[in-house]
C-alpha cells in the first residue's frame, strides 16, 4: 500500500528531532545495535575492529565540528586538525605536567581549543572565501610551530603517559570501555549538532553560507555569527582531540597533520556538507575504505608494502573527493534521501 504524505499539525511536532513513533523505534533499535556491537565483536574474535570503531567515533566528533564551521556557516577551514591538536595538547599539559584530574582537564582543554577557534575567526571577519581558508592554514602552521618550540608541550617528543579517565570508580582502560564512553560523547555531540541546525543561530549560519550580504540585510550580525561558528566548531575539535590524547595516552605533533584537515573536509563533502547525518555517513565511509585497504595491504593477498597501501589510500581518497564533488555534490546523504523518496513513491518515482 502506498504511504500517505505526513501531515504535521503543530509547529513543535514539526521541529522535533524525532518526529514519530516509528522514528523513535528506529533510533532505539540503532542505539541498541551499537551497544551490542562490541559484544558481537568479542564473540567473533574481531576485537581489533573495536579500535577502528573507537577512532571512527573520535573522528565523527572532530568532523561534526568542521561541519559546523564549514558545512553550515560556509567558512572554509583548512586548519581544523589544529583545533584537534590543541585540544589534545591542552589535555596532555593539564594532566601530565600540572597533575589535574581527567574530568577537570577535559572541559578546560575543550574550552581552550574553542578560544583558539575564536581567535582564528577574528581575521575571518574581514575576509571571505579562499582568504579564510588560507588564514586557517597559516594558523595550523603557527600552532604547530608554537607547540614544537615551547617547553611545556615536550617539543618534538610530545607528551606520554596521559591518564585514562574514571567513571564512577570504573577505570576506562580497555577498548570496550572506551567504546561506550566515546559512544556516549558521540551521541551527545550529534544531538548538539542537530539541535544547532534547528536553532536561531544554526539558521543564521546557513544564511551566511548561502549569501552573506543578504544575511546581513536580514538583521543577522554576520561577524558575531562567524566567530561563533569558529568557536563551536573548535569546541568539537578540541573535545575530540582531548579524548583522542587520553585514548592513545600520548600526544605528538605528527598525530594531527595538515592531511587530517584535508581528510576531514573530504569526509564532510562525501557525506554531505551541512548535514549532520551526512557527516557521520561520510566519516564512516572513508574510515571503512581506509581500513579495508589497510587490511588488504597487511593480509598479503596482494603483494603490497604498507607504504604503498598508504599512498594508494591517498590516491583513492583523492579520486573519491573528485568524483563526489563533480557528480554528487550533495554527498551520500542526498543519495540516500533520493533512494528513500523513490522507494516511497514506487512505482511513480524517478
Amino acid at each position: 500500500m502506498r504511504r500517505r504524505g505526513k501531515s504535521r499539525t503543530d509547529f513543535v511536532r514539526d521541529l522535533a528531532i524525532i518526529g514519530s513513533g516509528r522514528h523513535w523505534l528506529a533510533v532505539a533499535l540503532a542505539l541498541s545495535l551499537l551497544a551490542l556491537l562490541p559484544f558481537v565483536l568479542r564473540w567473533t574474535h574481531n576485537l581489533n575492529w573495536l579500535t577502528f570503531l573507537n577512532f571512527t567515533l573520535l573522528t565523527v566528533i572532530a568532523v561534526l565540528g568542521l561541519n559546523i564551521t564549514t558545512g553550515m556557516a560556509g567558512q572554509l577551514s583548512l586548519g581544523h586538525a589544529a583545533f584537534v591538536l590543541a585540544g589534545g595538547y591542552a589535555l596532555g599539559v593539564f594532566t601530565v605536567k600540572l597533575g589535574w584530574p581527567f574530568w577537570g582537564a577535559l572541559p578546560v582543554a575543550t574550552l581552550l581549543s574553542g578560544i583558539a577557534g575564536f581567535l582564528v575567526g577574528i581575521p575571518a571577519l574581514r575576509l571571505r572565501g579562499f582568504y579564510v581558508a588560507v588564514t586557517t592554514l597559516a594558523f595550523f602552521y603557527i600552532i604547530q610551530f608554537v607547540v614544537r618550540n615551547i617547553e611545556i608541550t615536550g617539543g618534538i617528543h610530545g607528551l606520554i603517559g596521559i591518564p585514562y579517565p574514571y567513571v564512577g570508580g570504573l577505570a576506562i582502560k580497555s577498548d570496550i570501555r572506551w567504546y561506550f564512553l566515546l559512544l556516549v560523547f558521540c551521541v551527545l555531540c550529534i544531538l548538539a549538532s542537530v539541535n544547532l541546525t534547528r536553532s536561531r543561530l544554526g539558521r543564521a549560519f546557513l544564511a551566511i553560507r548561502d549569501n552573506e550580504d543578504a544575511a546581513a540585510n536580514l538583521g543577522i550580525s554576520v561577524g558575531l555569527a562567524k566567530l561563533r561558528a569558529f568557536f563551536i566548531g573548535a569546541l568539537f575539535g578540541g573535545l575530540a582531540g582531548a579524548l583522542w590524547a587520553s585514548y592513545v595516552s600520548v600526544v605528538k605533533l605528527d598525530q594531527f597533520t595538515i592531511w587530517d584537515s584535508i581528510w576531514y573536509l573530504g569526509m564532510m563533502v562525501i557525506g554531505g556538507a551541512g548535514s549532520t547525518a551526512g557527516t557521520v555517513l561520510g566519516v564512516i565511509a572513508l574510515r571503512l575504505t581506509s581500513q579495508v585497504l589497510h587490511s588488504i595491504g597487511s593480509s598479503g593477498l596482494i603483494p603490497l608494502s604498507s607504504n604503498l597501501t598508504i599512498y594508494m589510500t591517498y590516491a583513492i581518497f583523492g579520486i573519491a573527493i573528485i568524483l563526489f564533488i563533480s557528480f554528487r555534490p550533495f554527498g551520500l546523504i542526498a543519495m540516500w534521501q533520493k533512494l528513500k523518496a523513490n522507494y516511497k513513491r514506487w512505482p511513480f518515482g524517478t
Partner: protein
Amino acid sequence: MPQINTIVQLIISGVLVGGIYSLIAMGFVITYRSARVFNLAYGQFAVLGAFLAWTFIGPPGSPRLPLPLAVFLIIVSAVGLGLLVEFLFFRRMIGRPLFASFMLSLGLLALLHGTIMLVWGPESRVLGATVPKGPLFLGKFVLAREYLWSFGLALVATLGFVYLFRRTRIGLAMRAAYDNQVAARCLGVSARLNSQIAWVICILVATIGGVLIATVNGVSIGLSELVLLVLAVVLVGGLDSLVGCVLGGLILAIGSNFTSYYLSQYLVGVESIVSVSLMLLVLLIRPDGLMGIKMIKRV
C-alpha cells in the same frame, strides 16, 4: 665590515630565490585570474614536473636523453597534462560555487600526492644537468650559478606572461572572464578556450618552477611544501596581481633568508613560519594584498 657583507650576500641570494618564487606564484595567479580556481594542488603539479624532468633527464653523470629532446618532452607532457586536467576536472567547475572547485583541487592534491609516491617513491633524487652549476665569485660575494640561471629563466618567463596578459587578445579575454564570466561570454569570449589556455599555462609554469627549484634543492615530495610558500607570496602580493607576485616573492625570499640566518639556531622551523606570519599580517592590514585590485562590495 663582515656584517655588511653578510647582509648584502643575504639580499642577493634572496633576490635570486625570490625570482623563482615569483615565477611559481604567477602560475597560481593565472588560474585564479581566468578560471577563478584556487588551485591548492599547485605544489603537487610542480613536484610532478620535477619528477617528470628527472625521468627524462636522469641523475647527474648519466643523461637518459639529449637535453633538447628532454626539454621538448617535458614541455609536451606539461601541455598535455594541462589539457587533460582541464578536460577531466575543471571544465565541470565553470559556473559552480567556489567551494566546489576548492574541494576539487584538494582532491586533486591527494590524488597527485598518492600517485607520485606510488610511481616514484618517497626517496629524494638529484636532478642531472639542466643549467650550469657551481659557485661564481663576484669580488667578495659568492653566487651560485644555478641560482643565477634559474633567476634568468624565471625573469624571461615572467616578462613573457606579463606581456601575454597585458598586451594580447588572449590576455584581454582572460581578464574579461575574470571580471564577469557571463558578460565575457556574451561578448564572444570562449569560456572553454580560456580555461584550456589558463590550465596549460598554469601547469607549464608549475613544471618550469618545479624543475628550477629541483635543480637547486633536488627532486623530492617535500617540494610540495612550497605550495604554502607560493600561497604566501601570492597573498602578500595580491591574489590577482602579476606585479604583486614579483614583489611578494622578493619580500618573502629576502625575509626568510634573514630570519633563517639569524634566528634558526634558536627556534626550530622559524623560516617556514616567517612567510606564514608575514602573510597573516598583510591579510589583516590589507585584505587584498599589497598590489591586489580592491574589490568594491555592493549590497
